[in-house]
């Protein structure tokens, strides 16, 4: 059984070189294919991409930056949802050790909402359970993204960036509501 195979059947330089090249080609095509598919889902908007740096006009916020010690001049002074004159919805959220404000963010079902998050102290995470909303809250900076909640109900809002001893209890919620006519 363990008799040596004829040497000719051991791997040789030329066969290997051929397979190497084929494999190199496959690997390259795979990498490019991945890139193209990600771009496709990117442009089709299957996930909420983050904007910042003045992508939104927010009072008191410049280039996506603000003073974390003083929210007074900004909408973050009164966190929560608001409806703009043009009918669009914006929500302002402040993360701080160890809770989000507002503790329950109420949003309308089926309507695009732009959420702006910042932090009053250290880094926090803004992750809504069961969704692909997953962003960093940074003191001095505003993270903005637009999303549409399609089903009514209450979702857990979990801080998923280490923020200190109370990190694992930093859980609040987002309440998706059917609007009163």
């Amino acid at each position: 059984m363990s008799a040596p195979r004829p040497a000719g059947q051991r791997l040789d330089h030329h066969t290997l070189e051929k397979y190497e090249n084929i494999w190199f080609g496959i690997a390259t095509v795979m990498a490019l294919f991945l890139f193209v598919t990600v771009l496709a889902s990117f442009f089709s908007g299957t996930y909420p991409s983050l904007t910042g740096e003045g992508g939104h006009h927010i009072t008191g916020v410049k280039n996506g930056r603000l003073n974390p010690k003083n929210f007074a001049a900004t909408p973050f002074a009164t966190p929560g949802l608001r409806q703009n004159a043009d009918g669009t919805y914006e929500a302002f959220v402040v993360a701080k050790a160890f809770q989000f404000e507002p503790a329950v963010l109420k949003v309308p079902v089926g309507r695009p909402v732009t959420i702006h998050v910042t932090s009053a102290d250290v880094l926090h995470g803004y992750y809504i359970e069961g969704t692909n909303i997953n962003a960093t809250a940074i003191p001095g900076q505003v993270t903005s993204f637009t999303t549409t909640f399609r089903r009514p109900g209450t979702l857990n809002l979990i801080c998923n960036e280490y923020c200190g001893t109370g990190h694992h209890n930093m859980i609040n919620s987002v309440k998706v509501e059917v609007q009163e006519p």
Binding site: S2, A3, P4, R5, P6, A7, R10, L11, D12, H13, L16, E17, E20, W23, I26, A27, T28, M30, A31, L32, L34, V38, S41, F42, Y47, S49, L50, T51, E53, N63, G64, R65, L66, K69, A97, D121, V122, L123, G125, Y127, N134, A135, T136, I138, P139, G140, Q141, T143, N156, I158, N160, E161, Y162, C163, G164, T165, H167, H168, N169, I171
Partner: protein, 593 residues
């Protein structure tokens, strides 16, 4: 043919019955003899010091692991009075685990391994005073950083994102420790350049080539973290500046933070490419291809770090997407590695009489830990790499970012591909350096297999929990709200808890073997009983540049390629950082632990 301890040579085809074309196999490298015995002894000693320091860090760091696995099994042991006396919190333990395992163990091991290998491969003399100085400095940095870690004054986790603030002693110690690795870079590049001058027109031998390329890559990569710590965090923690911009810091951290994974894994690749064929009884497939792989890593490892920041604001999506593209490209050299090493193994198995499309695998020496450790590490890395592609895709990332999926992922990459390979290396390298013997092949083999099985179960449990959104870095077993109790995660929690127990057993077995070996008496000359396990080669790179293939000639000028690597990083990071600095918003520090 060189053999490793306990190795029974593969049956060689007898020339009478099976004539083999002379050109199809090239004998294993004979490294130049080092005649100066005192020098060689000192070189071996400093290498051994690096390795032992590395494994002591791993021992302490790993102890925390099973406790964390229990946490992800839904069991909180952190209220236990004994544990409370030792650890102020889950997060202090986790900081120790991350720093000691991911930063200290790896860096010390690599500093020893990749100093020794090129010195032997080239037969060069290095300045031993400088080598010892570097070791002492690195260790001093480690001990300095360890104090605040142990006193709960740097419970920042291994990423130490500001504005969570730690004691300045931590940042200073960390800077000294990481900075010392750049001295090793200097020493290795210097010895290689002296060798080039002494051997004009020669091709750098493979092991030295891979080592030099790895160190060059690390030098480019380390610039980010060194800049962050030295210029931003130390002055801030000392109160010299009023604040810190968290996003600039995080961006500099990930400049290093992704490439560091290649710094961890390339030394393992060196062992897979150069030594594993010997352990298996096979041959290296193609030296020119290996050189190409390492050049790709040198060029492409660093300008990809923004893929860790998809969730961060104020960095343009265009730049994130460019880094994502380069991240996908860096999968190519890893895919080439999978091909080459698998071919080496098949070659070995067929030489041992293996047959069939897959049946040959049975002929490999699975019971030998110097063989099984790197191979199982590689199997683990194939799975880890597949998961890594998910992490790197900006569209998938939001689903798993900062969830338990991530630790699930990197315990089968750095925690197994690297760690298990290094464990396997220690089993021949320590006998080689010291003339001591592995005390028990069976126990060592059991340690290797249980580590592999434990980490597979761990990865399954953690990836699975991550898909439900269980966050990483959290004492989830003590969360007041019912969120995690309401998730359908009983099975993955159970798997995670069980894996912690398997891994504890594995660690006990491995460290027993390691320390039995280290504390035993020298029995023979390691140069003879456990030589560096060089392998035969099917397609060598040759020794003279004149007449070498184009691939060999174009990969030889590493200094120039190093410059290109630096340029690429500046191109891919320069504009991003320039904008961040222009809009910097300094914020004050906090201590919330």
């Amino acid at each position: 043919m060189t053999t490793s301890p306990g190795f029974s040579p593969a049956p060689q085809p007898k020339s009478a019955q099976a004539p083999q074309p002379a050109s199809s196999s090239h004998s294993a490298r004979q490294a130049p003899v080092i005649a100066d015995a005192a020098y060689l002894a000192s070189l071996k000693k400093v290498t051994q010091y690096y390795l032992v320091t590395a494994f002591l860090a791993l021992l302490v760091g790993t102890l925390m692991g099973p406790l964390q696995a229990l946490n992800y099994g839904g069991i909180n042991v952190y209220d236990n009075p004994i544990l409370k006396a030792l650890l102020k919190s889950y997060y202090q333990g986790l900081s120790l685990h991350g720093v000691l395992n991911a930063l200290v163990f790896t860096q010390f091991f690599i500093s020893g391994f990749l100093l020794y290998l090129p010195a032997r491969d080239l037969g060069m003399k290095i300045n031993m005073k400088f080598a010892w100085f570097t070791y002492v400095l690195m260790t001093a940095g480690l001990l300095t950083a360890a104090v605040p870690l142990l006193t709960n004054d740097a419970t920042l986790l291994y990423t130490f994102y500001p504005p969570m603030e730690g004691s300045p002693v931590f940042y200073i110690g960390a800077a000294v420790m990481v900075g010392s690795s750049l001295l090793v870079v200097g020493q290795v590049v210097n010895m290689w350049m002296r060798w080039k001058r002494a051997n004009p027109g020669s091709v750098t031998p493979l092991v030295a080539f891979m080592s030099v390329a790895t160190w060059m890559m690390w030098a480019v990569a380390a610039l980010g973290i060194v800049t962050e710590v030295v210029f931003l965090l130390i002055p801030w923690s000392l109160g010299w500046v009023a604040g810190v911009d968290p996003l600039i810091s995080k961006t500099l951290f990930w400049w290093t933070g992704h490439a560091i994974v290649y710094f961890w894994v390339l030394p393992a690749y060196i062992a897979w490419y150069a030594f594993l064929p010997n352990h298996a009884g096979g041959r290296i497939v193609s030296e020119p291809l290996v050189r190409l792989t390492f050049v790709m890593f040198l060029l492409n490892s660093t300008p990809v770090g923004l893929h860790h920041q998809y969730a961060d604001p104020n960095i343009s999506v265009t730049w994130k997407t460019m880094h994502m593209f380069l991240t996908f490209l860096i999968a190519i050299p890893s895919l080439l590695t999978a091909f080459s090493v698998a071919a080496s193994l098949e070659d070995a198995a067929r030489a041992r009489g293996g047959r069939g499309l897959f049946g040959w695998m049975l002929k490999l020496p699975w019971g030998r830990p110097t063989f099984s450790a790197p191979v199982l590490a590689m199997v683990s890395f194939i799975l880890g790499g597949a998961g890594g592609i998910v992490n790197a895709s900006s569209t998938f990332a939001p689903v798993i970012h900062n969830t338990a999926w991530i630790p699930g992922h990197f315990h089968i990459t750095v925690g197994t591909a690297t760690t298990l390979t290094f464990m396997g290396i220690s089993l021949w390298l320590i006998p080689h350096l010291t003339g001591k013997r592995m005390p028990s092949v069976r126990l060592a083999s059991a340690a290797v297999w249980t580590w592999f099985v434990g980490m597979m179960v761990f990865a399954l449990g953690m990836h699975w929990q991550g898909l439900y959104g269980v966050p990483r870095r959290a004492l989830v077993s003590a969360t007041a709200q019912s969120v995690y109790r309401d998730m359908p995660i009983a099975i993955p929690q159970l798997l995670t808890a069980i894996s912690g127990v398997i891994l504890l057993v594995s660690a006990v077995l491995y460290f027993y073997v390691l320390f039995r070996m280290l504390l035993s008496k020298r029995v023979d000359d390691g140069e003879v009983s456990s030589p560096i396990p060089y392998s035969e080669v099917i397609s060598p790179a040759g020794t003279k540049l004149a007449g070498a293939s184009a691939l060999v000639r174009y990969t030889e000028p590493l200094l120039a390629l190093w410059g290109v690597a630096l340029l690429l990083v500046l191109l891919m990071y320069g504009p991003v950082l320039a904008r961040l600095f222009a809009n910097a918003e300094l914020v004050p520090g906090w201590r919330l632990y």
